[in-house]
């Protein structure tokens, strides 16, 4: 029986056998990791061909994750989007609170098939780390999560969640102390422990086969959304909108719509304080092709190939790279990418909360802000689907400070103190 939820790309045209999406992708890894990365590729191909793998994954996606995720129309929010109809693909309602679990469960099953007993992962906002820690608890795997020190502070709730689930959380103090540096540290761990450790990579970047494999595990988002929209709205959307950090939730939403050339695919990158300030993480808007974390793609870098430090209010989007398939979709013109400032994202976060009773993650709020723009461009006949990739609980501290939602200064001080304690624990 074909799987309902594990639906790898049926075209099989990209990437090429050596992992290239046009000019982007490939496998730029140290020799010490070649055997392990090859093993992942071989095991993944075997798993794809094995109905038992799909059955096991389907079982988990239905009864553990809660798939299919709902599609929610948001008419009160949509009034601010030029009157276009707006639907949200509710990946925030998955177990653990984001889309990340789709990929994590797939790779956790693969880890077992490879006979490995330990999993490592990077995390920015902590959503991939929480999902990974969850799967490791479920499967009895040892788990270490690398997280930039700055992110352990701004996403302290998720640090506590990961520890509650039994994972070790390592605060990374090198470089910009955010997602990029967490990935560097995870690679260093992997090189040393590759015989028993799987690196459960959390986005559609990295060396082949990760960009294609992680995409395949998230393809279900777009496949479901496409079917649900045809049922509910009776037609395909004019635009599919998603936020883009490394690009996993966006590729998950976009991929099933790629053959539907009438559907605009719109990725929303973090413009931080504004592209012109240099304080942003808008890789496709402001980057140049280069190599970071194992593949060729757009990268934020200087004229001599040093990676520049990114900035975003959103820890999950604060990354100077991007998955190679997005670079391919950008250059081929099939997808378009626009940059959304911190302020625009935060306004959209508050708007959705107040008009629809849904508090989105700051990451997903970038997509909502993009949808507001796109809706105004399309006008009242427009139909938009937005990937609501995660829920906002983890961001309440950042949002409360941004909007001044705490009652008193004393309360803010008390909160800062408890954050400092958590941080001390982390050290």
């Amino acid at each position: 029986m074909p799987s309902e939820f594990f639906i790898p790309d049926p075209e099989g045209q990209v990437p090429s056998a050596d992992g290239y999406f046009g000019a982007f992708g490939g496998k730029f890894i140290p020799e010490a990791l070649v055997a392990a990365v090859d093993q992942v590729a071989v095991e993944y191909e075997k798993a794809k061909a094995d109905p038992e793998f799909a059955r096991e994954l389907d079982e988990l996606l239905v009864h553990y994750t809660g798939r299919p995720s709902p599609l929610t129309e948001v008419p009160r929010f949509a009034r601010h989007a030029g009157g276009a109809r707006v639907f949200l693909k509710r990946e925030d309602l998955n177990h653990t609170g984001s889309h990340k679990i789709n990929n994590v469960l797939g790779q956790a099953l693969l880890t077992k098939r490879m006979g490995k007993t330990r999993v490592i992962a990077e995390t920015g906002a902590g959503q991939h780390g929480v999902a990974t820690a969850t799967a490791c608890a479920l499967f009895g795997l040892r788990c270490t999560i690398y997280m930039g020190e700055i992110d352990t502070r701004r996403q302290a709730l998720n640090v506590a969640r990961m520890r509650m689930l039994g994972a070790e959380v390592v605060a990374v103090k090198s470089g910009s102390r955010t997602l990029k540096d967490a990935i560097n540290e995870a690679f260093r761990d992997w090189v040393a422990n590759v015989d028993h450790t799987h690196y459960l990579f959390g986005t559609v970047a990295g060396p082949h086969p990760f960009p294609a494999m992680v995409r395949d595990f998230h393809r279900v988002i777009g496949v479901e959304a496409r079917r649900q929209l045809l049922e509910r709205a009776g037609r395909l959307p004019d635009a599919a909108v998603a936020c883009v950090g490394g690009g996993s939730n966006a590729i998950g939403l976009f991929h099933a719509f790629i053959p539907d050339t009438g559907v605009r695919l719109i990725g929303c990158e973090p413009a931080g304080h504004g592209i012109e300030t240099g304080e942003h993480a808008a890789t496709l808007t402001a980057g140049e092709p280069g190599i970071l974390h194992g593949s060729r793609s757009y990268v934020l870098q200087d004229d001599e190939g040093q990676i520049t430090e990114p900035y975003s209010i959103s820890a999950g989007l604060d990354y100077p790279g991007i998955g190679p398939e997005h670079s391919y979709l950008k250059d081929s013109g099939r997808a378009e990418y626009r940059a959304i400032t911190d302020d625009a994202a935060m306004r959209a976060l508050r708007l959705l909360s107040e008009t629809e009773g849904i508090i989105p993650a700051i990451e997903s709020a970038h997509a909502l802000a993009g949808a507001l723009e796109v809706g105004r461009e399309l006008g009242p006949d427009g139909l938009i689907v937005v990937n609501l990739s995660g829920r906002g609980d983890k961001d309440m501290d950042t949002a409360a400070r941004y909007f001044g939602l705490y009652d008193t200064d004393a309360e803010v001080a008390a909160d800062a103190e408890s954050t400092a304690e958590i941080k001390e624990d982390a050290q």
Binding site: K27, P30, E31, A32, A35, R188, V191, V194, E304, G305
Partner: protein, 272 residues
């Protein structure tokens, strides 16, 4: 064979003819300053290193441990540029006549331009390059230009490399083969694994004529002597960098790296 790849081959062959291993040192350019780095590179060559690898610092050194990360960080914050790396190569080679290679990650060279970098490195008197995150399958363009300019392409092999990959890598590489003594990032280790001996044996079993040199973890004379017992060269990096980092001032740092190079030079001659 043309250019300084010939000098590299001759240097390694001369060590072999003397019945010893070669001592290959690594130091990052621009650390602690550009001029200070040049002095350090010259010091280790004068004190007994046969070959030096000059590191081109990178913002994201995923294969380096904390010692080299710290040095790269200091160099980059000091504003080191590729022109400074090339000047380090030129001055070290001109002052000592010894072979000087560059070791770096692929992105800086990709961004600078392969054609431009290989031409300028050869012009500076460089002997070749080690690019540990450029696997042989992705190295076609690099090797084409490196060959044109008489530069060696030194590939890394690891304990996890299967025999068929060792054959591919030794066939594509030139200068020497860099055998990683263990699975891990750069940094000093208490012991240098038994994996190193086996990897050198398996690399030689491919039938390659290239010298096989061992790096990662070696920090002292006894370890150098041990590795010299089975490898054509002993590569030492973090131990030199650590001496510079730990020194109270640059003059003391130079004395410390000179002293270490002298001890290691004894080690590679089998004098533990």
């Amino acid at each position: 064979m043309s250019g300084n790849i010939r000098l590299l081959a001759d240097t390694l062959a001369a060590a072999k003819a003397e019945g010893r291993s070669a001592l290959i040192a690594y130091l990052p350019a621009g650390f602690p300053t550009v001029d200070g780095g040049i002095e350090a590179v010259k010091a280790v060559l004068e004190a007994g290193a046969d070959v030096v690898e000059v590191g081109l610092p990178h913002s994201d050194p995923v294969l380096d441990g904390p010692v080299i990360q710290t040095a790269d960080d200091i160099a980059l914050r000091g504003g080191v540029r590729i022109a400074d790396v090339l000047r380090t190569v030129r001055e070290a080679h001109e002052a000592t006549g010894k072979p000087v290679l560059v070791m770096t990650y692929w992105n800086p060279i990709d961004r600078y331009g392969v054609e431009r970098f290989t031409a300028e490195l050869a012009q500076a008197g460089g002997a070749g390059c080690i690019l540990p995150d450029l696997p042989v399958q992705e190295s076609g363009l690099w090797r084409e230009h490196a060959e044109k300019h008489g530069l060696a392409t030194v590939f890394v092999v690891a304990p996890s490399s299967r025999d068929e990959r060792l054959a591919q890598i030794t066939a594509a590489g030139s200068g020497f083969v860099y055998a990683a003594s263990l699975m891990g990032v750069t940094g000093t280790r208490e012991t240098v694994g038994a994996q190193a001996r086996d990897l050198v044996r398996r690399t030689r079993a491919t039938g390659t004529d290239l010298p096989v040199c061992v790096g990662l973890g070696v920090s002292n004379r006894a370890q150098a002597a041990e590795v010299a017992g089975f490898a054509d060269g002993v590569i030492v990096g973090s131990a030199f960098v650590k001496r510079l980092l730990d020194a109270p001032d640059h003059a003391a740092g130079l004395r410390a790296v000179r002293e270490l190079a002298g001890e290691l030079a004894q080690g590679v001659r089998g004098r533990a």
